[in-house]
């Protein structure tokens, strides 16, 4: 079984996000970038399936700026066998929409013929939660989103999904797309020898233009602004004072 894992280079989740004063976006120049945390979980699951000898190859794909190559090197250091970089933007501020990403991934799936695509359920930058579902639609494949448990048997995957009311388990036909939630596993760290070894693993590079895929956004961004901020209120010194204040302000 071949597994494809899309990995996105995003602002590190620990970095404080700053909105640019001119309203054109979030400042990404000179900030720490990392692999989207949900994609780390997807990749970890793929590697575990390979270690359990249920998969023979794990291919990581990243779509974005040239520098996404670093994210792919990380994926290779973690255990992916090879990487495919699709350069689709010159400027890191130019986020490629999930629909365009899904179209690029579809072209790669058509070539590589994986049985399973394991993707993060959302990217922590645009918070769209869409790429996996869109790719499934374009391919006409089954989908299992928000996975917190996964097992693959013969021609099916059984997936437990985190839903509003609790958990739902479904069985989907392979080939399939599973999007993962954070509780599926705890990703490993890359060891130094593996980081060095990763430098020799194959990393193919192409561009969206070469693939003839239009990545023009469908959603024109008119502005990006700071959300309304809350200011800290007061400190109360006791439970009694808390109850009193809550009653005074009508909150209770």
């Amino acid at each position: 079984m071949k597994i494809l894992v899309p990995v996105k280079r995003v602002i590190d989740y620990n970095v404080k996000v700053r909105v640019k004063g001119d309203g054109t976006g979030v400042d990404l120049a000179n900030v720490k970038m990392s692999m989207n945390p949900f994609d780390e979980v997807a990749l970890e699951e793929a590697i575990r399936l390979k270690e359990a000898e249920q998969a023979d190859e794990v291919i990581a794909v990243s779509i974005g700026v040239q520098k996404a190559q670093e994210t792919l090197r990380t994926a290779l250091a973690l255990g992916a066998d090879r990487g495919i970089l699709v350069v689709a933007a010159d400027d890191v501020h130019n986020d490629i929409e999930p629909l365009a990403v899904a179209r690029i991934l579809k072209a790669i799936v058509d070539e590589e013929q994986p049985n399973l695509v394991l993707a993060g359920k959302q990217a922590i930058d645009n918070d769209m939660n869409a790429t996996g579902q869109m790719l499934a639609a374009l391919l006409g494949w089954s989908q299992a989103t928000f996975a917190s448990e996964l097992s693959v048997k013969d021609e099916h995957a059984v997936v437990t999904r985190e839903v509003d009311g609790g958990l739902q388990t479904i069985r989907v036909k392979l080939p399939t797309i599973v999007t993962v939630d954070l509780r599926l596993n705890e990703p490993r760290y890359a060891s130094l020898p593996n980081i060095i070894k990763a430098k020799r693993k194959p990393l193919e590079e192409r561009t969206a233009a070469d693939m003839n895929i239009d990545v023009d956004p469908r959603l024109e961004i008119l502005s990006t602004t700071e959300p309304a901020t809350r200011t800290a209120g007061i400190r109360v010194n006791s439970v009694d004072e808390l109850v009193e204040k809550l009653k005074e302000t009508g909150a209770l």
């Binding site: 918070d127 769209m128 499934a136 739902q168 959300p227 800290a232 808390l242 109850v243």
Partner: protein, 309 residues
Amino acid sequence: MAVLLLAEITNGELSLDATAKAVSASRELGEITVLAVGAECADAASQAAAIENVTKVLCAEDSLYGKRLAEPTSMLIASLAQDYDHIVAPATTDAKNIMPRVAALLDAMVISDVSAVIDHETFERLIYAGNAVQTVKSRDAKKVITFRTSTFDAAGSGGRATVEDIAVSDNPQLSEWVEDKLASSDRPELTSAGIVVSGGRGIGSEENFALVEKLADKLGAAVGASRAAVDSGYAPNDWQVGQTGKVVAPDLYIAIGISGAIQHLAGMKDSKTIVAINKDEEAPIFQVADFGLVADLFQAIPELTDKLD
């Protein structure tokens, strides 16, 4: 302009709150047709017909839709799309599963988790865990949208829409339902409760979480949790509040033993009044709290629960 709105239905039961909030979000977009989908959905359909501003309800009843699996449900919605300019739903996990698939079938970019409608093609949404607000204008012929329910008031009742049964589409036979593990509770729902009491890692164990629940029950509140509390097994996944959990905006949110990571704030910072109880006076949660109490929760919570008699 015409809107097709996917009603939130679980096992035949309409979630009136989520559906009515999506109706009020869509009010300016055009005439609203609600789509009720389920193995049984006649009751849900007639309930949806009574929501103010709904003109028509379409009812697609078939065992195929019992668990609203994404593949058949999105096929059905796409097959109805030609008559509508906007295809919308409340941003529940169910709709987040289905709507991007619908959008891709219609060659449109889904607009997820919209928090404000500017006009029929311009919308606001939060990005970066709520750290920035983006205004986007869709160039797509059909707009596929999910609405963040916490920012819209529910539409009222008193509507008298007509209900029409519609033909179902084929079964693509790609997926099947195995089982649900859904919690049933007498407490109000997290996303519509007036008061939410949430516990974090500071609670320390599943047993100790009873302290949070007792306080919540005293207040008639829903119970929430941080991701750390859920990951540690103190609380079930459906209680998680935050970037990857539920987004809530109750009148009163009480955060206990929660540090206030940005990913947690993303799910609760629009609450009207925020109370934080934490033993660390430097905890970032205090920066968004209206009332902060620096205290050991094991003393403060029982005391607070007692004093609410």
